[in-house]
Symmetry: C2
Subunit: 122 residues, 2 copies
DNA sequence: CAGGGTGCTTTCATATAGGAAACTACTTCC
DNA sequence: GGAAGTAGTTTCCTATATGAAAGCACCCTG
């Protein structure tokens, strides 16, 4: 009796897995969700704003991650012709489609904390 | 005129960011979403099944990731008292609460592919 | 008793990510 | 002129993640 678990073999599953990989590779790294989350709240922010808001990030990482996000059209970078030149980072319309995903992420994280709290008090 | 972008300063935002960090640290790495995704489809799978289903993973990584997931009570490991000893990995009830998140991840990834396809054909 | 299957662990090596600090360049305020 | 702010880049270093391959222990089948 050969019992092979042929689970992933349907096209739908393959596509699903591919899709998960795609999403995660675009949003990989320690900071992207933070940056996007901050931009969701802050709408339009300058480089130094983000450096302050995203706790712990350094300028190198911030710069690199913003470039990644810009390449994938999730974030827009607009140079403002102001007194000291400033740059505005904002989510693109497309970047905003990440909101439900980030909401789920946050929701799950909050419930996770609660479940730990509960299991400790039992 | 001091214009400081005080965006993240509300408790709600801090909690939200914390929650995102929590979720991502639990599900960090290249393979966890794949493993969980596969377990969602496959219900109960043995080690060798997973090794086959999760394309590209090696036994070391699989072992390590499964231990991580078990520690966080997302996956259960049950040794079966069968002829050649077998082990069953399955999502716990708690692990199944990740389904909506994984669905969002997959959904976004699929739409991402479609948006690339569209932008190329324009 | 050899081959193959299950379920891992160990070792060795490399790749990538991430961080600290210094530096550039330009401007404006005091 | 010097300090400070904006927006980064560059260099150097370390930690962590990942990978390939082999080994181990146990059992069954031929």
């Amino acid at each position: 009796m050969k019992k092979k678990a042929i689970v992933n073999d349907t096209e739908v599953c393959q596509l699903r897995m591919q899709a998960i990989s795609d999403t995660m590779s675009i949003l990989s790294g320690k900071w992207k969700f933070h940056i996007i989350g901050t931009l969701i709240e802050g709408n339009k922010l300058g480089f130094m704003d983000l450096l302050r808001e995203v706790k712990g990030i350094g300028s190198k990482m911030l710069s690199k991650e913003l470039q990644d996000l810009e390449l994938n059209h999730l974030v827009s970078r607009t140079v403002q012709d102001t007194k000291p030149i400033t740059v505005q980072y904002a989510l693109t319309e497309y970047g905003e489609t990440l909101s439900p995903l980030i909401d789920e992420l946050a929701k799950w994280g909050i419930e996770y904390r609660q479940s730990i709290y509960k299991s400790k008090s039992v």
